[in-house]
Symmetry: C2
Subunit: 257 residues, 2 copies
Amino acid sequence: MLGIPSEARQAFRAGTVTPTSGIADGYAQANLVAVPADWAYDMLLFTQRNPKPCPVLDVTDAGSPVTELAPDADLRTDLPRYRLWHNGKLIDEPTDARAVWRDDLVAFLIGCSFTFEGALREAKVPLRHLDQGRNVPMYRTNRPCRPAGRLAGPLVVSMRPIPADLVAAAVQVTARVPAVHGAPVHVGSPATLGITDLGSPDYGEPVEFTAGDVPVFWACGVTPQAALERSAVPFAITHSPGHMFVTDVPEATYRLG
Amino acid sequence: MLGIPSEARQAFRAGTVTPTSGIADGYAQANLVAVPADWAYDMLLFTQRNPKPCPVLDVTDAGSPVTELAPDADLRTDLPRYRLWHNGKLIDEPTDARAVWRDDLVAFLIGCSFTFEGALREAKVPLRHLDQGRNVPMYRTNRPCRPAGRLAGPLVVSMRPIPADLVAAAVQVTARVPAVHGAPVHVGSPATLGITDLGSPDYGEPVEFTAGDVPVFWACGVTPQAALERSAVPFAITHSPGHMFVTDVPEATYRLG
């Protein structure tokens, strides 16, 4: 029943906690970052200036927990796990955000690479983290985002080990969906991104490589969370990395070409 | 010398006034809309919610007349003609905006369909307005944009008569560049868009059809001007329709697939 977006959200609302990779295959998933209205312009400008990690799918009106990506959903309850931020510090990871939601919050829904994983599987590209039952690993890089107002921070990437002979296919499949990060930002050579140990991700869980796998890096919607930290934003609610908002929008809606 | 962006801008700065279709072929052109900082969030949200007419290429910091789309350009002088708006009313069309620029203005540069006209010509699609030495005709439609904060208004479209056997080619060529409006929003049947007389455009100039031509409509970056009017924004400076900002960015930068 986690194959249908509304039923997956119902399960999360009822208390199920799990990373959402592999859930509701064929539907877009989204990163959540909700900031007070007086920070909303900086955040919207940050997303506009950094479209690869921050492709905006929707922005709510201040105080509204409703998005047109899933009109019957409640953003305060329908994600499996949240993160609560005060002054750039992570202070809690609740599974329900109603007690901490505020009337001045503007919620940004940002495309997530889980959205194209179904298309990767259709192209016979294996997904090691799913096969190993783990959350996808994510890393802060040495690449700065373009700042916007009071917001600045590094690019965050997700990483998937891809068999060398399928790297080109993975690039082509994901390039078709820029609204969910599109083509990889980097293939191979973690050191170039300032990543010294793939076994110690900054978010998510480490994943095992099979011989001949190459690390492939996609821009990640956790990037705004790194900016919240770096910029000491007074208050924010986000999803917990890998625990996404499952939308009603078919992945095909965002596919180009 | 109008083939090189910096030289075209120099000519406009020196007083040349002309629509920019056909100028600096191969380089992106942009719509300008500059609003006071306290309206910038509404405008940025309006563009995010209406990406087809309002594909944002850059947003300046408040007060800065400089954009990374052409770092040596001055947005106050380098367009051939401007429009000055008070409370949603057009009050002047100066060729230099220095006397009316304000320190709190945030400038939005929005993709323009002139950008893909070179690619249309390469595909042997004739451009009637250029052949006839006219500005492209633009029309307010009966399609409302999705409102954002205090901003609302109709979709504005540009129209090009296209020979029936080249309509498909025109769709395919322009679909590749979504950052400059992409594929047409509508082909044929002006009445469906609420356009009763193609000979009386709301902006630009009427253009003659050749037998067998079909009217093809693209979303237009004049759409924010219609929203300024409808929403009675207290102060704004825009380009004059058809008199665009010529950037240093090659059109190919925005081409997909």
